[in-house]
Structures are given as C-alpha cells and as structure tokens.
C-alpha cells in the first residue's frame, strides 16, 4: 500500500467507526445498563430503562444515531512514536469526521465561537478536538472516539482546593456537581474525577477517566477505595434514570490522578450520560485494526 492508499484506508475505517459508535453502545456500558435495569424496583425507573433498551434496539435495527445529539467529536489518541501515519493522523481524523457526519448522519454541532455560526460539517477551529499522548516504543495507535453531547457535558466543573480541604473536599465537590447538575445529564451517569494540581490537568484527567472501562479500578488502593465509596454513596442518593429517582444514580465512578503540588488539590468532574457513546480502536502498523470497545463489530 502506498502512503496515499494508506491514508485513504485509515480515513475510511475511522469514518465508519465514528458513525458506528453513535448507533451502538460499547459492550461495558450495555452490560452495566442491563445490570441496573435488572436490579431496579422503582416502577417509573423500570419504565425508563425499558424505553432505553427499546431505543437501542430500534437504533440498531434502523441504523440510526441512538440519540439526536451526536455531540462534538473528540479523539483521544495514544500514538506510538513509530506509528507510520503519525504526521497524517490529524488530517485523517478531520476527514473522518466530515465523512461520518454525511454517513451517520450526525447532527451539526460545531458552532464557530465568536462568529456564532454553525459550520454545518462538525469541523471547525480545533474541532474535531484532538488529545495526544505519545507512546515511546510502540508502532501502533490507540484511538478513543467520544461524542460530547450537550446535556452530559454541561455538569463539567473544576476547582482548586486548599490542601486543608483534603480528600473530604473532593467528595463534597463531586456530590455537589452530581446532585445539583446531574439530573439533566441523562443519568445513570458515568462519573470521571480528576485529582491533580490545577484545573486543566484535573479536567483532562477527569475526561480520560470516563474513557476507561466501567469496571476498571485505579491502580492505587486508596484511590480505588474512593472510587467505590463515591459510587456507593452517589447510588444511595437514588437519583435514578432521568432523575426520576431509583436504585442507582451512576453507572460507575472512575478516578484518574497525577502527582500534585503540595499546596493545591486540583479536582475536576466530567460526566458521561447513559448513552455514553465512546469507542476504542487499535490501529496496527500495517493498518489492520482491532475494535476494543465493542464486541463483534464489523465496520
């Protein structure tokens, strides 16, 4: 394959994958929703879970985006330093977004800031949004695609706490955000918490946290314990699907962290809605690919 063909073939794969994730939920989310639905006892909540599953069934059958808000397209890239199309990836993902918008079809969700004009293509300045991480010795690339819907993006918040507020302050911050702003984000939510130095580092980590599989655990024992405590605690509030109350408030809580300045605790929360449309794909050096987030996918 020459370079031009390689670019074309990867663009095609990424366009199809981007459109695909708007129609079918990842395996871990599907499993979690089924679990929550089976455990639910509140009659209104059961009604809502039933609507969700018939909606996903209809989206699959009719091959349509399962929610009308297909979001702003974001790609989180972990690229090997030796990945052959490293320099081309930015253009490839932009083209893939254009193509997915036509094919999906995806709703037009890119408004050029300050001009306040919808570009009508889902592309614009720095959109699709790209987040990069370089993996030193690798020659493959792992790409997470995320559809950032309006409702589920709105609760997002970040703050820098004083060390005296401690992890207790982190708990309070998470609870405040979810109880005051979570209801309109289409719960049950996947909650991502970033703990770091400053607002932007914490915010980026909180977003990475909701890209992690739902049942994964933070490698640090204290952090893993806090994930569990927050999940149990938020569920005890019983926000339920669509905020109508029910057994669960969240599908899970994932924490990502970094070392921090001793004088600050940066904390941020990102939320994913029940229709958490994300996908993970690994592109190998020969441009063959493996879809990691959705079982049994044919693109």
């Amino acid at each position: 394959m020459d370079k031009e063909q390689a670019v074309q073939s990867l663009t095609d794969v990424m366009a199809k994958f981007t459109a695909y994730i708007g129609k079918r939920l990842p395996t871990d989310i599907k499993g979690k929703l089924a679990e929550l639905q089976a455990a639910e006892t509140n009659s209104l909540a059961k009604e809502v879970y039933a609507s969700m599953s018939s909606n996903q069934e209809a989206a699959d059958r009719l091959d349509r985006p399962s929610c009308q808000d297909t979001g702003v397209i974001q790609y989180f890239i972990s690229a090997g330093a030796k990945f052959p199309l490293l320099g081309e990836l930015e253009d490839i993902l932009r083209e893939a977004t254009l193509e997915a918008t036509r094919k999906g079809p995806l709703r037009h969700n890119a408004v050029e800031t300050f001009d306040e004009k919808n570009t009508g293509t889902n592309t614009g300045s720095r959109v699709p949004w790209l987040d990069w991480e370089i993996i030193p010795d690798s020659d493959s690339a792992i790409i997470d695609v995320y559809m950032a819907g309006g409702g589920c993006t709105l609760p997002g918040s970040a703050k820098v706490l004083m060390p005296g507020q401690g992890y207790e302050g982190v708990t309070e911050f998470v609870f405040d955000v979810i109880t005051s702003r979570g209801v309109n984000a289409c719960p049950p939510l996947l909650v991502g918490v970033g703990v770091s130095t400053s607002v932007e580092t914490a915010a980026r980590l909180s977003k990475r946290a909701i890209l992690r599989p739902i049942d994964s655990k933070h490698p640090n024992a204290n952090a893993a314990k806090m994930e569990e405590l927050l999940e149990e605690g938020l569920n005890e509030i019983g926000i339920g699907p669509q905020g109508l109350s029910g057994k669960a408030s969240v599908m899970g809580v994932n924490i990502e962290s970094s070392a921090r300045h001793p004088s600050t605790i940066g904390v941020a929360v990102s939320t994913g809605c029940w229709a958490h449309r994300r996908g993970k794909i690994r592109i190998n050096a020969d441009l063959s690919y493996d879809v990691l987030s959705h079982e049994g996918v044919a693109l």
Partner: protein, 202 residues
C-alpha cells in the same frame, strides 16, 4: 391499561392526573423550544400554529427531506426544559397549550402556570430519540423554517407517543422539586460517612 391523551386536550382530561403518572399522546405534537418561546413572549410575534388544547415538545430533531419533498423524522429527543422556564408560564397563558413535554423538571413559575391554566409538564426519557421518531406517523407541517432544523416548529402527527411521565400536574405538584429536596436531605449523612474513610492526608 395505557392512559392515552388525545389532542385537543380538555381540562377534564388532565384534572385526575398526578405527578409520576405515565401517559401517552395521540394527535398533534409540535416542537417548540428556545427561540419560538422568545419570539412569542419577548418579541410579541404570533405563533404560526394554533396550540389551543395542544401539546408541545421541547426538542430539536434530525429531519430528512425525502425525494418527494416530504419530511421524515429520523431522530427526535427531548432537550432540557428548564431553559424555557423563563417563558413557559406566559406561554401557557397566551397559547392555551395543555401538555408540555421535555427533559428534566421545570420551576415554580411553570408549576404556577400549570395550576392556574390546567396544564401539565411531562418527561419523555432523554436519549431515546429513535424510539420517539418511530412514534411519529407523519410530519404535517414545518413553520418558521428560517430558524434552522433544531428550532423549526415541526408539526407531528403522533400515535401513542410516550412514555410521558407527569412531572408537574394541574394541582401544581412538582416531581423534580420533590426529588431534589429528597436527594439533598440524603446527601449530608452520605458525605459524612465517606469522609470518615478518606482521611489520606495525615
């Protein structure tokens, strides 16, 4: 048995409904959101659709124009109703609308409007846009198309559209306000318990 409301909706159809009841709608459902509310209330423009006894949907759909010029509903889901709180009470008063469908709750002003003018607010499950689209039989009209696809007033003929969960009833009860109070009451003790276990800074 499914409880089905049919447009035009009469006061008597709504009086026995309570928050938390589930109903379905058959008849006409018109999408109506931010700018349409603003045009009527702030700019005093007349709505191009008669909503007396009618139903509106806070929603911005994906609509496809077919080859024969007809519109087809691809995907239609509710948007956050609270954004219309500022206008809804007057909107109810001016239009005679009886059923407002959206996502999440609305505030005290809308609840007051619902009580005074015998109207209800109901929730359609968010994110279930394909399910909703399959309950639209036909798009009968499209007014104010200058507003673009999300804001156009799409006049839909729907059949057993729902589930619609009553969130504000004609007595002024407000399900989301009640829930909010309950969630907040539970919050304190839960936080306290967690915080006794996260004293990692020693």
């Amino acid at each position: 048995m499914k409880k089905i409301l049919t447009t035009p909706i009469k006061d008597e159809d709504l009086e026995s409904l309570n928050v938390g009841d589930v109903v379905y709608l058959t008849g006409r459902l018109v999408t109506c959101r931010d700018v349409a509310h603003r045009r009527l209330i702030e700019l005093n423009r007349e709505l191009p659709v008669n909503l007396e006894g009618g139903a509106i949907f806070h929603a911005g759909p994906i609509v496809r124009k077919k080859d024969d010029g007809q519109f087809e509903m691809v995907s239609i889901g509710p948007t956050t109703s609270m954004r219309m709180e500022k206008f809804e009470k007057q909107f109810i008063e001016r239009t005679g609308v009886k059923l407002i469908v959206g996502k999440g709750g609305m505030g005290p002003e809308t609840a007051e409007g619902c009580q005074t003018h015998k109207a209800v607010h109901a929730v359609f499950p968010g994110g279930c846009a394909v399910l909703a689209a399959t309950q639209v039989e036909e798009i009968e009209g499209a007014e104010w198309q200058d507003l673009g696809m999300p804001e156009t007033l799409w006049v839909n003929r729907v059949r057993e559209f729902g589930p619609l969960i009553i969130s504000i009833d004609t007595k002024g009860n407000n399900l989301f306000e009640q829930n909010k109070a309950r969630f907040n009451a539970k919050k304190g003790p839960v936080i306290e318990r967690i915080n006794s276990q996260v004293k990692f800074i020693k």
